[in-house]
Symmetry: C2
């Protein structure tokens, strides 16, 4: 199967934000404007979520243009509703047991560019424009802070070298 | 703060796998070869993990060269040990309650290129070379299968337009 993202073919850094937005909406076929998240998470979205025992789903935060994975946070229904409707990422803080609008304290705001749900409803991919550091330590990404673990690399065999098969 | 990944500056698709591997190891400063994951997860790594009530940490799976986020899975200590040492991604399947070496049934193998832990030890970023579809539905990514949710986009104000601040 040769499914590829359109953005692979060009240099993402060269795309203006406006062009990216238009292309992205076209790519994802987002034409349904009938969802109502104004006071609570639209029931059609809520029905698709598979929450953990604490009522949360994992949210992977990715810089929308460079595609760096910045961090993982958690959202309950209301945090997701706020993320979808306010242009700013809001998590549920498991340690503080409160809503956490990223950047309110640090200034390191995450502006929302897109949110996708995964196939089984227990993970979100949130594309953002991250101001400054995503990690509380000051590193751009939480994975740069924690750092690499020692791995034995794997390699696809020669017969699978040409494209995705 | 103007921290950037080296790979942002060029077209990822143009980098050979060998060049990427060398640059990546240099970037991450991986010189410590004293870890021993041969029979159990090295205690120094195990001590850094912050597991959920089921003993699991989230693993974000990202295609190493295009930087697509493909899926999220979960690993216990042994699944992580196998992922670090065999060149193949192994999850703990929460639904089947068994180890799940990705691709054994579908052929859609994930070859391991790098694994990083996050700042607080409860999430892993696993860079892979994904053969074919990551999603069990046949889609390249589980987030393409679930698809986009309706969002109100956010935009950084004009004074933050120039680089990361």
């Amino acid at each position: 199967m040769a499914v590829r993202y359109a953005h692979v073919a060009h240099n993402p850094g060269a795309v203006s934000e406006a062009d990216w937005g238009v292309a992205h909406k076209k790519k994802i076929g987002m034409t349904d404007t009938t969802y109502d998240n104004s006071t609570e998470l639209d029931p059609r979205i809520a029905a698709r979520l598979k929450r953990d025992v604490k009522g949360l789903v994992a949210a992977v935060i990715q810089q929308y243009d460079t595609h760096e994975v910045l961090m993982v946070g958690y959202m309950n229904d209301e945090a997701l509703r706020r993320t979808l409707t306010t242009g700013r990422v809001t998590f549920w803080s498991r340690s503080r047991q409160e809503y956490w609008r990223k950047g309110d304290t640090s200034g390191h705001v995450q502006y929302v560019k897109g949110v996708s749900l995964d196939c089984d409803g227990d993970a979100l991919l949130v594309e953002v424009d991250q101001v400054g550091a995503a990690c509380h330590t000051g590193k751009r990404s939480c994975f740069l802070e924690g750092g690499p673990l020692p791995v034995v690399e794997g390699h696809r065999p020669a017969e699978q070298q040409n494209g995705l098969s």
